[in-house]
Amino acid sequence: MSEAIKKFMFVNTKAPYGTVYALESLEVVLITAAFDQDVSLVFCDDGVFQISNNQNTEASGMKNFSNAYKALGDYDINKLYVEKESLEERGLTLDNIMDLTYEDDDWAEKPSIKLVTRAELADLMDDQDLVISS
């Protein structure tokens, strides 16, 4: 395989269950991490709902895959950017978002989620080799 490490940013813009994009994007994220690439995730627009607390899909009959986000830390995926404006536009705060964490090299538990503004996000995107949105 390749020795090159690229910076992959996955931008999640859609709600988790209305379309299949969130679920199938997560599959790509996990495979990309398995290739030891530099992976970060963005949650903006309705994408912030992908990591909202207390998801319950019982009435819709769909598979609740929200627990998979909790495993991201185990794959060394710990740069999860949540866009501040998107939360505000939807009447949400970080209290409505899952408490996603990872363990650092000293086994200390650290938060994976960073709240960023739209302007900060633009700078972060500018710094990537690949920006893949869905």
Partner: protein, 130 residues
């Protein structure tokens, strides 16, 4: 330049596959390289060999197949996305105990690793979809 293309929408419903095809054709004419074309999400449906579009319309799958033959394109269909949507080649149909297969021979089934490897190897990954 070396490109990998990612196609995320199905044929006819959405322009994504047509645009990707036109892009691939134009890029190849200009002497660029298409390292891989990867079909994901509903994009896997572009690989069906059973579609019968009206005769006065384009045949998207056959267009891809012809371009692939001319330029030896590596066209990969994601296995997980394909299975979920009932897209199988003969091997996979046999393995899964299904009585039919529908993947055009110009395409082949493989894993998402092919997308990531394509993204690493190419100068640009271009997504066609929503």
């Amino acid at each position: 330049m070396k490109f990998t293309l990612l196609i995320n929408e199905g044929p006819y419903q959405h322009q994504a596959s047509d645009t990707a095809y036109q892009f691939a054709k134009a890029a190849l004419e200009k002497g660029h390289e298409i390292y891989r074309v990867f079909f994901y999400n509903d994009g896997v449906n572009n690989a069906t060999r059973l579609a019968i579009p009206p005769q006065d319309d384009r045949n998207i799958t056959e267009n891809w197949a012809a371009l692939a033959k001319e330029h030896e394109l590596d066209m990969v269909v994601c296995i997980a996305a394909a299975q979920r949507r009932g897209m199988l080649d003969a091997d996979e149909a046999g393995r899964q105990g299904k009585d039919a297969d529908n993947i055009h021979p110009a395409f082949h089934i493989s894993g998402l690793g092919q997308l990531v490897e394509g993204a690493i190897q190419a100068d640009r990954l271009i997504t066609f979809g929503d």
